[in-house]
Point group: C2
Chain length 410, copies 2
């Protein structure tokens, strides 16, 4: 077990060396349940859409050339050949001098090559008077004009929204192959942690992190598996981690990793598989006492117990991996610009992250107001944070009134 | 049944007159499943967080004044009073000349009023040497400093993200009262419509709208209830609508509402309850043949069969209502600016919506390229649309290269 603090970049390199963030598997999902899911297949049309020439108006299917010269004052008269039923093959043919009644969406009958809108016609018994000419293909949606058989409509890794779902429906595909949601086991450690809903005995506090982290996992496109609070015995921790690793694609714990008499997390993970601990402390503030282990290809993140530290390191290191496991394209967190309201000091030699609230000052200027860093244990502080400002290791402070980049939590 | 076309604003007024878009009900959801849900209660803390003074470092709990003057070269020596166990009431007291070993998160023992970090101490058997002074309350998170009993943490209608979930966990609340997801029944009408997954018989096409619309309902925070394809008989339609109204908070149908020989939707809804049809056609393009009925307090939207028309009218009229039913604060669709790549003509006298794809031209300028309006039946056209430009009734066209507002679909 080594104790050298890595930089955040070195920690990322160590993770990349030991972890392939490929989606853990695929599953077929009914199309109606696929909204928001990530495609694990290219969608290739097996049919033409539409499969036949369709009318896009209500009116009369005609031979276009027979309508040439038709005018409001000088209509052309055709004879009704019959009515096209929607949803079935036309049994009517349009021959010279004839027109067939048709509704929007019905197939164009043999012989016809255009449709005159109802509004430009007048009917008396079987006589149809046409008051405006149409050209070939007018008011017709041609077979395969929307989608051609063999056409690639969507590609692997696209996220399915309403319009993509509509395209898949159009080709009649009822099931869609998507990446399985990655399962992330979440557990809290520490004898002082109690589960919400239970009575709080003296000296204990309710578990915040398992809930914050589970919810953030959902927001990133993963499926959290809440495994509760593990007391700080080595045996209990090993048992809980073994169970977590058998059920999940990634494990996140928080608490119990400070440099203190009860720091048993590294010991526990090192007994479970190879290579064990790959990152033992990171040169950042907050979040320094973060341990990362790789156990036979799966990552175990052990975050500090302070809610702000835990959520920050989750954002910095784990969420991008969860998004990749979910099949999503890697994406930078959403960023914005604002002016600092005070000088922001860094922790000497450590990459420093300052939580900020975004506001507007009296002149309308967007400002980033720092939240007290000493309160990294406070959930209300974290709840007020819209995002964070990063200060490099070699910078002592960011001046007041300087424009900064804020990475947003949402 | 009246046939006068309403403007889009008149249609909205008619809806407001007949429909109270209050959330349909509430339900208690386990906190771990509440991510993304909308609060239906104010969250008031019933406990203090933390409930006791806690150490925020590993070290020794001391009486601050006894450390005054301690220096690296001139430490002050205290005697070990014992060790504070984390997660229980301290059994150790810190009296004059004493210090108690403590870890992060453990309760401050009686008599102590500060904690010296482990790094600033040295221990030999029971003698603790202190190399740096601390002031009163240093390294202590005071009881109720995060959350005070009686404090309002969150208010009704807030959406729950990871940080809000963390605050609710902090006060130990396992269930949270949220608005029930509004149920929106979705059905398609028309003898030509077939369900995806079934063999396509001649003259039929696969149902696109029920899928696009259901997915958009999910994106808006509702729960779609897919009721399949209803053939165009009055009896079948009445039966399907009656079933939809009994199960859902809103009903959306598409297809079968064109002005044609088979236009039975108004007849069907008028038999089901009062007042029946409130909007029969809207002066917009596309989307004109939209019918809206109010049936004993629930809305039935009947959209045109063309996918673009159906999704557009959903966005214009139904999605804001679904968001309100879900308990969300009314929100404008996300907007952006871009330059038109060509002159965009409106439909004379009708509010016109032009679907556009957002691109960047060779100079890097953001452009909005219109999609062919004649193709409102094409799902691939819709899938390419990033949003739409609105042209007012009294404007003939928008000039090429003009900067426009684009309302986004996502």
């Amino acid at each position: 077990m080594f104790r050298k603090l890595l930089t955040i970049e070195e920690a990322k390199t160590a993770i990349r060396r030991h972890f392939k963030s490929k989606p853990p598997g695929t599953e077929h999902v009914p199309l109606l349940q696929a909204t928001g899911r990530i495609l694990a297949e290219d969608i290739i049309a097996q049919v033409n859409v539409p499969p036949f020439d369709r009318s896009i108006v209500d009116g009369y299917a005609v031979r276009a050339e027979e309508t040439f010269g038709a005018e409001e004052t000088c209509p052309i008269q055709l004879e009704l050949a019959g009515t096209i039923n929607i949803g079935e093959l036309p049994r009517v043919k349009v021959t010279k001098g004839k027109a067939a009644e048709i509704v929007t969406g019905a197939p164009i009958p043999q012989g016809a090559d255009a449709v005159v809108m109802m509004e430009h016609t007048e009917r008396t018994d079987d006589a149809i008077r046409i008051f405006a000419p149409v050209v070939k293909d007018q008011n017709i949606m041609k077979a395969s004009s929307d989608i051609k058989e063999g056409q690639r409509l969507l590609t692997t890794c696209q996220q399915l929204g309403s319009r993509e779902i509509g395209m898949i429906a159009a080709i009649g595909k009822p099931l869609v192959k998507t990446y399985r949601l990655p399962t992330v086991a979440v557990l809290s450690t520490g004898p002082e942690i109690a589960e919400p809903g239970k009575k709080l005995s003296p000296g204990k506090i309710y578990d915040i992190n398992a809930y914050t982290l589970s919810s953030a996992v959902i927001e990133a496109g993963g499926r959290p598996l809440y495994l509760g609070v593990v007391q700080d015995s080595l045996q209990q921790l090993q048992k809980a981690l073994r169970s977590a690793l058998s059920q999940a694609d990634m494990v996140i714990t928080s608490g119990g990793v400070s440099v203190g008499p009860r720091d048993i997390m590294p010991t526990a993970v090192n007994t479970l598989g190879k290579p064990g601990v790959i990152v033992s402390g990171i040169s950042i503030k907050p979040g320094k006492p973060t341990t990362i282990a790789s156990v036979d290809g799966k990552l175990v993140f052990s975050f500090p117990g302070h809610p702000t530290s835990a959520l920050l390191v989750l954002h910095l290191l784990a969420l991008p991996l969860i998004q990749q496991l979910a099949g999503k394209k890697p994406r930078q967190p959403s960023q914005t610009k604002a002016y600092t309201t005070t000088r922001l000091f860094s922790a000497k030699g450590r990459r420093t992250y300052i939580m900020v609230t975004l506001k507007h000052d009296e002149t309308g200027k967007r400002t980033a107001e720092p939240l007290p860093t000493s309160q990294s244990g406070a959930i209300t502080t974290l709840a007020k944070a819209d995002g964070y400002i990063e200060i490099p290791e070699n910078m002592q402070y960011i001046e007041k009134n300087e424009q900064c980049t804020i990475r947003r939590f949402r």
